[in-house]
């Protein structure tokens, strides 16, 4: 059952992105930013946590999940460390993903060369 809900919610979030791309003239980078910021704000309002509890990976793997992790990290850290928590928490929570993306991405970019679109 978990898998079904992950599939449906994850798919629906992607459909929202697809509709944004088709109906508005927003470019993909703008859509990425909108999704991450929307995820963070929804988390701040307490609206995204229920979706994550419900759909698990379906809500954390799409980009709003990245915003969710950032906001959740900051909110949790604030409870323990106060003001410093707001500065540390977000990146601490997402550090592994971001670092992997930077290091592995850099290596890949050095090894491979761009290919013409097939």
């Amino acid at each position: 059952m978990d898998y079904l809900w992950a599939f449906i919610i994850g798919g629906l979030i992607c459909v929202i992105g697809q509709l944004l791309m088709d109906f508005t003239k927003l470019t993909p980078p703008r859509i990425l930013v909108i999704f991450v910021v929307a995820g963070a704000i929804l988390t701040g309002l307490g609206l995204y946590q229920p979706i994550v509890d419900f759909a698990k990976s379906g809500a954390t793997v799409p980009l709003p999940g990245f915003g969710y992790l950032l906001a959740k990290g900051a909110m949790d850290a604030v409870k323990i460390d106060g003001f410093m928590g707001a500065l540390v928490g977000g990146l601490k929570e997402t550090a592994a993903g971001i670092t992997a993306a930077i290091v592995f991405g850099y290596i890949i970019a050095l090894i491979f060369s761009p290919k013409p679109l097939r």
Binding site: Y3, A6, F7, I8, I9, G10, G11, L12, C14, V15, I16, G17, Q18, L20, M21, F23, P28, P29, I31, L32, V33, A40, I41, S57, G58, T60, V61, P62, L63, F66, G67, L70, A71, G73, A74, M75, V78, F83, A86, L87, G89, G90, A96, G97, I98, A100, A101, I102, F104, G105, Y106, I108, A109, L110, I111, F112, S113, P114, L117, R118
Partner: protein
């Protein structure tokens, strides 16, 4: 003299309008429905695969948080590898937002400009261009997270 200029401008505007109309005839309308269906299935598939991997790691005795992080890292790395060997663009052309909205799109957006600008050097080429698209995402996301943290600090007290 100025009258002539005005006339010229008007002619130019009309030409531009006519050209727009002309181009519109040949631009294919995006297939809204089939695009949405494709995005739904591919996006759902990516999320389901992620959940399956996470459950697999948790069955091996990993903590839930660590398992989720490991899955994210795997998704990011595989998307970047696919970008490197040139398959990601083909997949993205078919699936659209189905692979751009999941974290795989973020990973792809870092590698492709970095590869493109490799000729400009390892530091100002690849090193800088790694963040052409990821930079705005990180800047906005982190800024919002700090603001949210501060708001929660104020509210909780």
């Amino acid at each position: 003299m100025s009258k002539k200029k005005k006339q010229d401008e008007q002619v130019k505007k009309e030409q531009a309008k006519a050209y727009e109309k002309y181009v519109k005839q040949f631009t294919p309308n995006p297939k809204y429905f089939s695009n949405a269906i494709k995005a739904f299935f591919i996006g759902g598939l990516v999320c389901t695969a992620a959940l399956y991997l996470q459950n697999l790691f948790m069955a091996q005795g990993m903590m839930k948080k660590d398992a989720a992080t490991a899955v994210t890292v795997i998704l990011v790395c595989s998307a970047q590898l696919l970008t490197g060997i040139g398959w990601f663009d083909s997949i993205a052309r078919f699936a659209g937002a189905g692979v751009i909205v999941p974290i795989t799109g973020f990973a792809n957006s870092m590698v492709s400009p970095a590869m493109e600008f490799k000729k400009e050097g390892l530091v100002l080429g690849s090193g800088a261009k790694l963040f052409t698209l990821a930079g705005p995402v990180l800047v906005c996301g982190i800024s919002v997270s700090v603001i949210i943290g501060i708001i929660h600090l104020i509210i909780d007290k």
